[in-house]
Every structure is written in structure tokens, then in C-alpha cells.
């Protein structure tokens, strides 16, 4: 995003947060979006998190070649990596692909078929009505998905370690319960909140300003996913630097 686009993005956000015309209608939309973003993505996040946790256990075990390092460390490393980095970031990147492209193409299609113009002519704040429910669902449901992802990733590590024999269940449990710092959860939730905002607002911006037809809508979707992913990684670094 160059500076002009960034300025337009900020101005769009200003319009998004204008006072809603009728709260009841907005609540209905928010509930719909929460269902789509949260419940609709739970299966995908569950599969990805479980396998990543299992693979992480195997890779940590493979790299721990020294007999002086206890195997319980596998559980500890898996726990901290899952909570601090893998669950928030991988979930966010996957969701940027799934939800981001859907948001961008939905709003983009509405733009090229004049549905957004129709909203504006009716006197409705189109950015608010279309984007605000999506942002609210993003900043609430993505942290919840990340919490699920943390549990499933750690559980995946347990299953992977037990099946492969890389670590015994007792050692793994001992590892994940030793020296746990609850602050890592706070860091992960802050990341999830920021990522939830990016995943919904950036694609909404790309869709909202589409000009042209079907080709431009698809290009905007691609751009939305790419920019969201890059923004997620940049913000990941910044939040980590600030909070740890």
C-alpha cells in the first residue's frame, strides 16, 4: 500500500466508525458475520492447528540430539511456539486467504453492480453498513479461533509425540505444565486482535474501491490477500517487539 492508498484506507475507516443508522440492523449483520468468520472457519483452523502441533513435536524431537537435554523440553517448546507464534500467525494467514478474499470479492462485486451506490442513494452509510460488522466479527472471532488453535496445536503435539514415540505422554504433559508464563497468552490475544482487524479491514478497503468488472474484482481479491499477509507479518514483528 503506498501513501495515497494508506490515506484512503484511513479515511474509509473514519466513515466505517460513523454512528450507525439503526443499531438493530447492524447487530443482525454482526451476528451473521460472526457465524461466517468464527463458526465457518473453526473446522479449517482445527485441522491445521492439530497437524502443525504434531509436526512441531516431531521436528523438535528430531533436533534435540543431546542426551543432556530432557525430553520434557519438547512439550515446553511446542507450547510456547504454539501460543506465541504459530497459532496466531498461521491462523491469521489462513484466515486472510479464506475470509479476506471472500470479503474483498463480496464488496467488490457489490461495487461493480452498483449495489453500494444504491445504499448511498438511500442515505445509508455504505462503509459502516458493509464493513463495520465484518471488522467487529474479525476482532472478536479471530482471538477465539486463536484460543482454540492453541489448545488443538498443543493437543496435536501430544498425539503426534505419542504415536511416533518421539516423547512419552508423561514427559510431554510434564513439559507443557512446567514454567508456564500466562503473559504469553496475553501477547497471543493482542496479536489475534490486531490480525483480526487487518484480515477484515484491508480486504474491505480493496473491495470498496474496485473500479471495472469481474477481472478487477478478482485482482482486488488477490491484492487483498497479499497485502493482508504482509501486514500480518509486519504487525507480528511489531507486537512481539513491543510486548516481549
Amino acid at each position: 500500500m503506498n501513501f495515497t492508498n494508506f490515506g484512503r484506507y484511513i479515511l474509509l475507516l473514519k466513515s466505517v466508525f460513523r454512528r450507525p443508522e439503526k443499531l438493530k440492523i447492524y447487530f443482525k449483520e454482526i451476528a451473521k458475520q460472526m457465524d461466517y468468520v468464527g463458526v465457518g472457519s473453526l473446522g479449517l483452523i482445527a485441522i491445521i492447528s492439530t497437524f502443525i502441533g504434531a509436526v512441531m513435536t516431531l521436528q523438535i524431537a528430531f533436533q534435540l540430539v543431546s542426551d543432556f537435554i530432557p525430553k520434557t523440553i519438547i512439550g515446553s517448546v511446542n507450547r510456547d511456539s504454539s501460543i506465541l507464534e504459530l497459532s496466531p500467525t498461521i491462523s491469521a494467514i489462513v484466515l486472510a486467504g479464506k475470509i479476506g478474499s471472500a470479503i474483498s470479492s463480496e464488496i467488490g462485486s457489490m461495487r461493480v453492480t452498483e449495489q453500494i451506490d444504491a445504499l448511498e442513494i438511500m442515505g445509508i452509510n455504505a462503509p459502516g453498513y458493509l464493513i463495520l460488522p465484518k471488522i467487529i466479527s474479525g476482532i472478536t472471532m479471530v482471538p477465539m479461533l486463536v484460543i482454540c488453535s492453541m489448545f488443538l496445536s498443543i493437543a496435536g503435539g501430544y498425539i503426534g509425540g505419542s504415536i511416533s514415540g518421539a516423547v512419552t505422554p508423561n514427559e510431554y504433559i510434564q513439559g507443557i505444565t512446567t514454567d508456564f508464563n500466562p503473559y504469553t497468552i496475553v501477547v497471543a490475544l493482542v496479536k489475534a486482535f490486531v490480525f483480526g482487524f487487518i484480515i477484515t479491514s484491508v480486504p474491505a478497503y480493496e473491495g470498496f474501491y474496485v473500479r471495472g468488472g469481474a477481472l478487477e474484482v478478482s485482482q482486488a481479491s488477490t491484492r487483498a490477500v497479499v497485502i493482508s499477509c504482509i501486514s500480518i507479518l509486519v504487525c507480528d514483528y511489531l507486537v512481539t517487539q513491543l510486548l516481549l
Binding site: 440492523i25 449495489q115 444504491a118 448511498e120 438511500m122
Partner: protein, 250 residues
């Protein structure tokens, strides 16, 4: 009454509207006509605020729309109904939900009152009982009629129609034209139709504004349009073989 004064609009250095002025009368069907690229739709979009003119003003009953802030514009927009070229129906909603949408947003009516209004509007456009259909299940003509029903749901003072006949067969075009005319007369709306269809011009053009290359070339009624000596207008009016044959005959 809607007045436009000296409207200029350009896009990336390309002048589309070059100082257009005019007065659209109350309770009649006003037409903006002209060839492709003459600036008709741009003028319409400037009038409803979808484009901001570079200079000039749009006055709704004396209120300067171009100088209004966001809140004031919203109030004027509540008095506007618009039929879009592609109908612009919300495709995630049924016909009923589409027409009910502005009522949900801006009125405190009960569900049964809103439903009564929806059914009245659907009856008015001859689409009774189509409440539960989605836009994807409708023909082009039906979509236009639902678009009109949605536009009149809030009893608008001003009705704008952008190319209401595009993509329709001649018979359906006449049905849509007559519907627009009837609604204008029944409710006394100030109706503005952008079109290049000569059938519409001859059928419903109470007041016509002819644009050519971004400038106003002529204004008058459909009774006068065939009797001018303006070359650009005659080229437009008699471009079709039918109109040319009619002119030669009479």
C-alpha cells in the same frame, strides 16, 4: 423542482461535463438524452451526489446539495429514489427484503405495516406474489420493476432512473416507461430519466435536455424535438431507420 447550475466535471484531465445548467420540473418526467459518452450518467451521478462536481451547484427545491455536509445530504437522500441501469438489487436478499430494506433502516413501522407497504409497491409494478424470489431468479424486466418498487417504497419526492430500458425488449421497455410515467403523475414526483431510447423520448419526455460532448445543446418537449434545426440533435433523433423513415413520410 431540481435546478442545476453550471456543472463542470472532469476525470483525469478529461472534461466530461462542460458547464451544464437546467431546471427539472416538478410532477413531470424529465429526460436527459444524448449519445454514448455525452455525459448523461455523469450528470445524473453529480445530481444525486455519487460524483462531486468540480464546480457548479445542484439545488433541490432551493437547497444547495453540493454545499451540504454529510448529515444534510443524508436528509435529502431520504427524499430520493433511484432505479439503476443494472437494477442494483441486493443479491443476498429476496425481493421482499430488498423493498423492505429502506423501511427497516429509516422507519419505525411494525413488520405488518412494512409488509403491507412492500405488497402495495409490488402490486404497483405488477409483481404480486413474487416476494420470496431472489434477484437471480428474475428476468431483466422483472428486476427493473423490483428496482422501481424499491425506489418508491419510501414515497420519494425525486425519482431518478438511469437507462431504465437498457437490455430490455421493446415491449418491456414500453411497460417500464409507462410505469415511470404513471408513478410520476400519481405521486407528483420530480422524475429524471437518463436514456438514449427514442421510444422513451417520444413516449414520456415532458421535458428533455439534450447533451452532446458534455454540453447542453437543446431543451424542450417531445412535441418540439423533431422540429429543430440543430444538426447534432437531428443526427441523434433521426439516427434510427424507423425515425428517418417516419420523418421522410411526413
Amino acid at each position: 423542482m431540481i435546478e442545476i447550475k453550471d456543472i463542470y466535471k472532469s476525470f483525469s484531465g478529461n472534461d466530461v461535463l462542460k458547464g451544464i445548467s437546467g431546471t427539472f420540473k416538478e410532477g413531470v418526467t424529465n429526460l436527459i438524452i444524448g449519445g454514448s459518452g455525452s455525459g448523461k450518467t455523469t450528470l445524473l451521478k453529480c445530481m444525486v451526489g455519487l460524483h462531486q462536481p468540480d464546480s457548479g451547484s445542484v439545488l433541490y427545491d432551493g437547497r444547495d446539495f453540493t454545499a451540504m455536509d454529510y448529515g444534510e445530504r443524508i436528509e435529502v437522500r431520504k427524499e430520493i429514489g433511484m432505479l439503476f441501469q443494472g437494477s442494483a438489487l441486493f443479491d443476498s436478499m429476496t425481493v421482499e427484503e430488498n423493498i423492505m430494506f429502506p423501511l427497516n433502516m429509516f422507519t419505525d413501522q411494525t413488520r405488518s405495516e412494512k409488509l403491507e407497504r412492500v405488497n402495495f409497491c409490488l402490486e404497483r409494478v405488477n409483481l404480486e406474489g413474487k416476494n420470496k424470489l431472489f434477484p437471480a431468479e428474475l428476468s431483466g424486466g422483472m428486476k427493473k420493476r423490483v428496482g422501481i418498487a424499491r425506489a418508491i417504497a419510501m414515497n420519494p419526492k425525486y425519482l431518478f432512473c438511469d437507462e431504465p430500458n437498457s437490455g430490455l425488449d421493446p415491449k418491456t421497455s414500453i411497460v417500464i416507461d409507462e410505469l415511470i410515467k404513471e408513478i410520476t403523475e400519481e405521486y407528483g414526483t420530480t422524475t429524471i430519466v437518463v436514456t438514449h431510447d427514442m421510444n422513451s423520448v417520444m413516449g414520456i419526455g415532458d421535458y428533455i435536455l439534450f447533451l452532446h460532448e458534455g454540453k447542453k445543446f437543446w431543451e424542450g418537449s417531445n412535441k418540439e424535438i423533431a422540429h429543430t434545426d440543430i444538426q447534432e440533435l437531428n443526427d441523434f433523433v433521426f439516427a434510427s431507420r424507423f425515425m428517418k423513415a417516419a420523418k421522410d413520410k411526413f
